[in-house]
């Protein structure tokens, strides 16, 4: 066993420039990200929507004309250059992936980039 360990140590430390990142000896509980709502009894569950990203259906007929693969919607009776989300008060409001109010003129809410992009933004190379 000692021989094996010695050989492995040489393999591990033989390169002076190699940097290793080992787990902390004891996890720092204060720094571990909060999983409340998404992990229960050490199992993943469907969690609640993220803040500002509780997607809501478009309602009514006021959605602006839509280009392919973009969002437009009718939120709370107002046209939306984006998609609807539920606000804290339960009403629907316009957003584009967290950008309150949706995209400004000249931009579209892209389902590919999942943010506001210029109207003619090429998607890939």
């Amino acid at each position: 066993m000692r021989t094996v360990v010695a050989i492995l140590c040489v393999l591990m430390f033989g390169c002076a420039e190699t940097r290793r990142m080992e787990p902390l000896p004891v996890p720092d509980r204060e720094k571990i990200p909060d999983n409340t709502g998404y992990v229960q009894n050490d199992e993943f569950v469907a969690g609640p929507p993220l803040k500002g990203l509780a997607f809501a259906p478009s309602e009514g007929n006021c959605a602006p004309e839509r280009k392919p693969v973009t969002f437009t919607a009718c939120c709370g009776g107002s046209p939306c250059n984006g998609h609807c989300v539920y606000a804290d008060d339960g009403k629907t409001t316009c957003s584009c992936f967290g950008l309150a109010g949706g995209c400004s003129q000249g931009f579209v809410c892209s389902k590919v980039a999942q943010k506001c992009v210029k109207e003619d933004e090429p998607k890939v190379k």
């Binding site: 080992e22 902390l24 571990i32 590919v112 003619d120 933004e121 090429p122």
Partner: protein, 504 residues
Amino acid sequence: MKQTAWAWLLLAAAIGSGCATTGVPVTGTNKEDPSWDGSQSETATSVANFAGKSVITVAFNDENPSQMKIDYTSTTRKVHKGASLMGWAYSENDGASWKYGGFVTPSDDWPVLWGDPAIVSSGNDQKFVFMSNLAVPKSKMPASGEIFGSLVAHIGGACIARSSNGGKTFALHQCVHNNFEFYDGGSMASSTKGDIYAAFIATDSFRYDIWHAKNENDQFTKLPDPFPKCRMAMHPRIRVGYPTLSLGSPDVSLFVAGQIYDCQKGALGGEETGAYGQIIINRYHNGNWGTPRVFSNASAINPEVTLSDRKLRTGPQFSFDVGAASIDGNDQSMNNEIRMLYTRSDGKRLWVEGSFCKFDLSANCHPAEEWGSTPGYYSYKGDQFTPNVRAFPGFLTIPSAWVGTFVTRDHAPAGNTVAIRRGSLAVFPNGTRFMIGFDFVAPLLVCGDKRGYWGDYDDLQFIGFEKNSVNARFLRTYTDSSAGCTKQWEYTSKAVHVSSAAFP
């Protein structure tokens, strides 16, 4: 800790150890290389045994100026009928050197082939290798034969090319579409029975379309929707798994995973609809999809990484594999797990963490924060993102291996470079999970275009064994601008090539 546990720890560490590498150029090797003048990025890798040789093929977005089909003006880009980004290179010496293979020629019915590469060799007859790209159908091509600016309004499916010499040459085999909807992403898998699968997202409909050919000569037909009660947000990833591979005949399962917008109440159990970015997974087995399982916390979707004076766009932020035994081959309960690395964000930095599921998805999946760079478990600084996972399932007396890589900025959290780390997704006999992240690819200067594009994703592939050994070997491909960052324009940058690094 028991002596055997230490031995496993050291073994895993040894597998992962070694010096950081500058890799081997896959493209842009020198000025005589046909790929030198072009840009290549965004990779997928296959391995095939053909004519007694191992052929490794790397598919990439290939912007080859010799085609003269893509023009840049000061304000826009013009793509002509006949343009193809569907390029590849191959190696017949285990990645020691590479040869540019060319690009697939589009057809009259599908006049533009436009990136998001996926590739797989048949598990049945490896002379057949399949490669896919997004594509523009004739019906969505302007009569002028030119597309200005974005191709989003024009892409209407995907084309699959086939090689019958292990991945050295390709020709179009079949193009697939669903009422010519916009497709995005691309992921392929194959079984030892010869099934070939290709998956895309129909972005406008929030749906995954998975195409299946029963053998290498069959036509692709669409499988049922794997997530009919969910709205899918980003590229799918698929893998094939074989439970009890070493104990009997293969029992093929297809797995698909992806990030969601949300799901109908009850679709994932419970009353919640799921959070934007949660990853879900399903299994296709005996002709049916099972019940989806939640596979992650809310993951980052296409995060943009801010460097010191430039930005870096990213792609899908998860990667999983199936069917390998744990490092302790005696622990049957951990055989054939599904393991994943994915990226999370707290708005300040990105980090990578892990999760795992039972092979048959018969129970809920579990977090494995001990894998990756999770705060509280590791002291990484800066961002870690774009993870890859690959398993070698093991066979008879040959040990299994699970490896993962991720892009990191911990060497210079405020700089303009990224590096790649690697490690084993290891499990102690007592079930404790751990990962040691080793330097792998030395820091690379990011040289994306003004949008931050520098290749959205890359691949990590099992490529065989070390010489005279049963140690599994893996190959990671990546974008490399070490030839010099001489141009960063709105829609393109130079030099942008592909390199590879193998380990151990």
